[in-house]
């Protein structure tokens, strides 16, 4: 055993070197996260350049990992007849109170339909209308039978010749001479540490859940909407490597079905449900508009005014629709079907209560994530980002993640032409290796401290109570945010010294909490900096309730200096990425 606080010492490092198997791998492109964006990037790279070696590292198993594990039942970003990339951009911009990266949204829009057709060619069943076209569910949405979406995507990856390392969690980038030259990772199955050197890295590790205290507690804490195993590791890795992040303050708070936190689109758009409050009023018209944040805000306000709970009412549906709705939920969120059964009702039997989720940090719905250029290159050379981990382009969903994966792959292929192969030892010297080895495996060797769940509870309590969680109706103010800032610094110090893991599973959880704390710290700085209220509930400043278009039509970005443990906020003009 190693004494607490002794992790950096010679003795400790020698012990780790003798107990941990060190595996070196060398490839052209590494993709962090074999989810939606990562898998699509992998296939795109391999199709465009069969001789390029592509490795996906996935914390879980690509067959059922990430957001798509359970399935989905619509493609939420598809341009139905009459819609164009430009009209998609206008919609996303309107929904986000005017501030988005237009270049990013437009380049997604240009690819949406093509990537959707590719998904169909891989075997995903699409529901068709009488003209044989995809069945529209609104202007930008089509219905699918999406239960097997993830196994279908995983099979395409397998057939493409990409190599996959499952049950392997990335922990940090290897940075060499100012460029990202690989990834450190460890296995959740055996004491193995990977040093993966590469010419380019694409980060596609998804957004972050579990930063805030979730809707359900204790035994049901992971009954949440977003994938609870996406914890913002890619964001934390980027921060530690000095990559610029954007708009963390545009958190995403989902309007979901009470208790099971299931998606509502299936009934809201798919069954034209009415949104009503406890008095039976169609309450939404009371609010400024019907944008996504305002739909969340309206439910919060109705509850505050004593007119809650709020419901989605589709009791008008004929009996014949009940089965269709149950099947739709089985294909995506089977808990909803259990709920109906336990309540001894059919879908049209009674209106379903809705609630608002805890805030998530997710670039596919909100705008939090890496600051990337039109080609999805981050501010650090050799590092590209796609999907929920990339910022500036909300409402990208499955197909937007595909589009970004494809763009990132194309750019990475261009980039690697200029990079000569490095030998692995050149990329990662001994000192670098030892430091990361001790950081990663340290929690396994501590004899005193607390376990990852305890620190996760502490983090979620701080964020909930001081940084605008569910219990405070998401409202933010400077004094509380400053209090959160201080508590998070202490928490990070404790975790660095006292976080313990009994086995490899707990070690994965230990790094999840370490990464979440850094994401939370940066989030608090973003929330403090934007002194206006732009996106209702997502970023609701009780002390600055109005919108300030004169001063605040700009992006709030951040860079972390890990050597000094300092978070610096940078402003970028609101017209960054605006197409002339």
């Amino acid at each position: 055993m190693i004494e607490t606080g002794a992790e950096g010492t010679r003795e400790c490092v020698e012990k780790l070197r003798s107990e941990v198997k060190i595996v070196r791998v060398n490839v052209d492109i590494v993709i962090v996260g074999g989810g939606t964006a990562g898998c699509f990037a992998a296939v795109s790279a391999k199709e465009a350049s069969p001789n390029t070696s592509v490795l996906v590292i996935e914390k879980a198993h690509i067959k059922r990992s990430g957001c798509l594990a359970s399935g989905v039942n619509a493609i939420n970003a598809y341009l139905n007849p009459g819609e164009t990339p430009q009209s998609y951009l206008e919609y996303v911009k309107r929904d986000s109170a005017g501030l988005v990266r237009e270049d990013l949204v437009l380049t997604i829009g240009q690819r949406l339909n093509r990537v959707t057709e590719k998904l169909e060619s891989w075997g995903l069943p699409f529901i068709k209308d009488e003209f044989g076209r995809y069945k529209a569910r609104g202007k930008r949405n089509v219905e699918i039978v999406g239960e097997a979406i993830k196994p279908i995507i995983a099979k395409a990856v397998e057939e493409s010749g990409v190599t996959v390392l499952n049950r392997t969690a990335a922990t940090n980038y290897i940075v060499k001479d100012g460029r990202v030259a690989g990834v450190f990772a460890f296995s959740a199955r055996e004491k193995t540490f990977y040093i993966i050197s590469s010419k380019a890295v694409i980060c596609a590790s998804g957004g972050a859940a579990g930063i805030y205290r979730p809707n359900n507690g204790s035994s049901a804490r992971h009954k949440m909407w977003y994938c609870p195993f996406n914890v913002g590791t890619g964001l934390a890795m980027g921060l530690r490597a000095g990559a610029e992040m954007t708009t963390f303050e545009m958190r995403f708070i989902a309007l979901r079905i009470k208790d099971v936190i299931s998606p509502t689109g299936t009934v809201a758009q798919g069954a034209s449900a009415r949104q009503i409050n406890a008095l039976g009023e169609a309450y939404q018209k009371r609010y400024e508009n019907n944008s996504t944040p305002v739909r969340t805000y309206a439910v919060v306000e109705e509850n505050k005014a004593g007119r809650g709970p709020c419901y989605l009412d589709f009791t008008h549906l004929p009996e014949s629709e009940n089965r269709r709705l149950k099947e739709a939920y089985l294909n995506m969120s089977p808990g909803m079907v259990l709920k109906w059964a336990d309540e001894e009702t059919e879908p049209n039997g009674k209106a379903v209560e809705v609630c608002t989720s805890e805030p998530y940090i997710v670039g596919g719905h909100g705008q939090a994530g890496y600051w990337v250029d039109e080609y999805r290159e981050s501010t650090v050379k050799g590092l590209f980002a796609a999907g929920d981990v990339a910022g500036g382009a909300p409402k990208k969903y499955v197909t937007g993640c595909f589009a970004e994966g494809e763009i990132a792959a194309q750019t990475a292929l261009e980039y690697i032409k200029m990079i000569k192969t490095n030998s692995e030892t050149e990329v990662c010297g001994d000192e670098n290796l030892d430091r990361e080895l001790a950081r990663v495996f340290g929690p396994l060797y501590r004899t005193a401290g607390a376990n990852p769940d305890e620190y996760e509870d502490r983090l979620q309590k701080i964020m909930d109570e001081y940084a605008g969680g569910i219990s405070t109706n998401y409202e933010l103010c400077e004094p509380k945010l400053i209090a959160a800032r201080k508590m998070l610094v202490l928490l990070q110090q404790d975790v660095e010294r006292r976080l313990m893991a009994r086995d490899l599973h707990e070690l994965v959880k230990a790094h999840e909490v370490i990464d979440r704390i850094l994401v939370a710290r940066v989030l608090v700085e973003h929330l403090l900096y934007r002194k206006e209220t732009r996106w209702r509930s997502y970023q609701e400043r009780a002390d600055y309730p109005g919108r300030d278009d004169q001063q605040w039509f700009k992006f709030v970005n951040s860079v972390y200096d890990s050597s000094k443990d300092l978070i610096k906020i940078i402003e970028r003009p609101g017209k960054a990425g605006v197409l002339s």
Partner: protein
């Protein structure tokens, strides 16, 4: 807790090094215990994604809603065959409903 393993049906996928449910669980919450049967660790970490029940070749796993969320004993099992999934929903009164859904086009 929401994943329940019927230990008399589970055979830990026999000689496979890792059982199929444990291979796919996105939270890595299933493992083979010393009796070569699958067990759940940290059950509060389960997302309810149902990946495990779809993988199980013996239908030895079911999911239920946690009591905290109003769970009253309804249960879901699934069987994947080819590009289809067959769901079996058991309700609190013991009645059953079956759903047979094509999920992959040939």
């Amino acid at each position: 807790m929401s994943v329940y393993i019927n230990r008399s049906l589970c055979n830990g996928c026999g000689a496979l090094k890792e059982s199929r449910c444990s291979e796919v669980c996105p939270g890595d919450l299933l493992y083979k215990d010393i009796e070569n049967k699958c067990a759940v660790r940290d059950p509060w970490d389960c997302w309810d994604c149902a990946s495990c029940i779809k993988e199980c070749p013996r239908q030895a796993i079911e999911i239920r809603l946690p009591v905290q969320l109003g769970g009253r004993g309804s249960a879901l099992k699934a069987k994947s065959i080819g590009g289809r999934i067959i769901w079996r929903l058991t309700k609190p009164d013991g009645s059953e409903e079956i759903f047979d859904i094509v999920t992959i086009n040939e």
